[in-house]
Symmetry: C2
Subunit: 417 residues, 2 copies
Amino acid sequence: MKIQNLIGTRDFYPKDMRLQNYIFSAWRKAAEKFGYEEVDAPMLESADLWKSKGELSEQMYSFMDKGDREVAIRPEFTPSLARMVAQKQKELQKPLRWYGIIRCWRYERPQTGRLREFFQFNIDCLGAESMKADAEVIATTVEILKQLKITPKEAYVRISNKKVLMELLKDIGVEDIESVLKIIDKKDKLSDNDFENLLKAAYKMNDEMVFGIKDILNITSIADLEKLKLNDETRKAVQELKDLFLYLDTYEAKDYCELDLSIIRGLDYYTGTVFEVFDRSRKFRAIAGGGRYENLVADFGGEKCPGVGLGMGDVVLQKFLEEKGKLPDLKKDVDYYVAPISDKVYAQALEISQKLRAKGNVEIDLVGRSLKKQMDYANSIGAKKVVIVGEKDLESNQVTVKNMETGKEEKQPLASL
Amino acid sequence: MKIQNLIGTRDFYPKDMRLQNYIFSAWRKAAEKFGYEEVDAPMLESADLWKSKGELSEQMYSFMDKGDREVAIRPEFTPSLARMVAQKQKELQKPLRWYGIIRCWRYERPQTGRLREFFQFNIDCLGAESMKADAEVIATTVEILKQLKITPKEAYVRISNKKVLMELLKDIGVEDIESVLKIIDKKDKLSDNDFENLLKAAYKMNDEMVFGIKDILNITSIADLEKLKLNDETRKAVQELKDLFLYLDTYEAKDYCELDLSIIRGLDYYTGTVFEVFDRSRKFRAIAGGGRYENLVADFGGEKCPGVGLGMGDVVLQKFLEEKGKLPDLKKDVDYYVAPISDKVYAQALEISQKLRAKGNVEIDLVGRSLKKQMDYANSIGAKKVVIVGEKDLESNQVTVKNMETGKEEKQPLASL
């Protein structure tokens, strides 16, 4: 029987898994540096969890289980997280700093940077109203880029505040804000001309209003924002952005961060800060995205609890790292390869291998290869040292240890191993 | 909206995840010590993969996807592993030493030690015919027990060889071997009387044959096996057991290992060595099980390739560790908690926190708690040190560092952090 893995999915052979773990480990390390703790939820939940709120229910793998419940494989983590918080809200100490490496499925057309099975790194900080939390989440995002050796010239975080944009649009007389936001959300994929025409055609805007919108989107500094005539509401929202950028400066994250009012984030639930990580060349879709939300936990049966979150998928990230030559050439992590020169000394070699395991990872021959073939094999797996166990050496209670990096060989007494 | 997680599933809050990661890390460490490399496959595959061979297709979560393929969430890893090996058999260097921490789903009645979603640790060594491989897999299993501080008095490995048992049964005249194996497989769950009666009733055996079977199952040493009159085939199989136990002795694993010919393992594909890990009190079902197989890869379209494997679920293991008091009281891993005494010094405190991240995991206040409440909070999360940032201290370029283990407080110059 020949069966292939499903389209849009990946097998993780050891070399693939090493790269996957390299990314997972950068995620973990950054999150834990900032005091975030790992969480997870089941892969399968009641389909209602996503149907009621999520925008992804179309792409869900949903079905009836044997007990006649409509269940779905999670297309994202956030609703599960909100459910978990709502279920234990009283006993959980605020702020919650949670992260997860979340396996998800979405039924979409597989293409570059998009697969049906993927992992999404999520961090969420819940229970803090201050921009300190937004800055922390963005600083953690920047820390991930640093861990992966991505410079500010290669990727950056585009940051906005939905309230600022919405107030400014209102100020120039835009009435159907939601619809204009939807067009702005697509701006990156449109030519300048198409963007203008779309605005004009759909909402019968005059040129002045279109130029007004474009002027707003061209603002790239807080200073320029402050020069505008702002009402109280807008001034408060601009202050949020100002605080945020001040904190980011202290985090040494400023080089990675840019104000960009065209960032909308499709998801309805963001209410303030929104941000997306992009490669500078803009060859790939967003590497990550997130923002501040107010109603998520309440939407899932809990008490209202503000939060800030980030999601970063593994697929685009890995493609980007690959293109930039930033994926390391990872070898198997073997400290010692123990090479018995014949089966006669196998038991002693085994004993030696077991002793060496107190010091690290140890492999021993299982298939009776010749010494030459064992040396080739040890070399191919990147073993750091080879311990050659021979009859003569054993008679004088020693072995030959070859350092595979320097090529140096020396006799060592058994007792010293 | 109030939605609960599905029955038979778990939410992993931080404290649950810490315990889960404690177990995962013991699995990883043991596997990597023996040179095993991590692999994984998609959670969802064509349902045919399990229907053709597995014994678990009844318990599968299977359904038609949006592209009209019958797909299933994996109830186990082995068929995916065999598919992966078959797909790249030519380029993969033997022996393959693979491990995986595999998320699985089975539709079963949830009960103690059995959930619908669980993780199964798998190790497989492929391409080695010698008992050296069987010994290595069992030694890795024992290493896991050691990592988890389980003594030989608390749990042990029951080891058999299917060929030995089958030959011995043939020798005393048993004809329907398969059926007798099925009854022996249930022996642990039956009273002595019921076991005898089941054998007698189902196969019209005389007392002599029943006692013969019981005598075989009572054999607990290789020496006793060798005392029997053995044909060549049986002698070869007994020699396998003898080699295996000799190697296990060298691995310092002997205390954990016992010969037990009643071990069958339900799964058809085992052809030689079979083993199961049990708690000595026999309160729980098997903690782990595995054995040698010959035809697995060929069954999935590859060339014949012998292998030895182990599977260990997280649910029984965790229950067992809990009962034995072997689950550690794990705290959040925070090296420094930075406590600004007021918002005026927040920016400086943030700068200090970011500097300290070069040394470890650092948390800082986000919600404006009083110093007293911050100290309580830092204590509750198990922070190792608290760095108190106050205005006066800052004037003389210093902070107060409290060691939370000793309770000692001292001033430290900023430059020294």
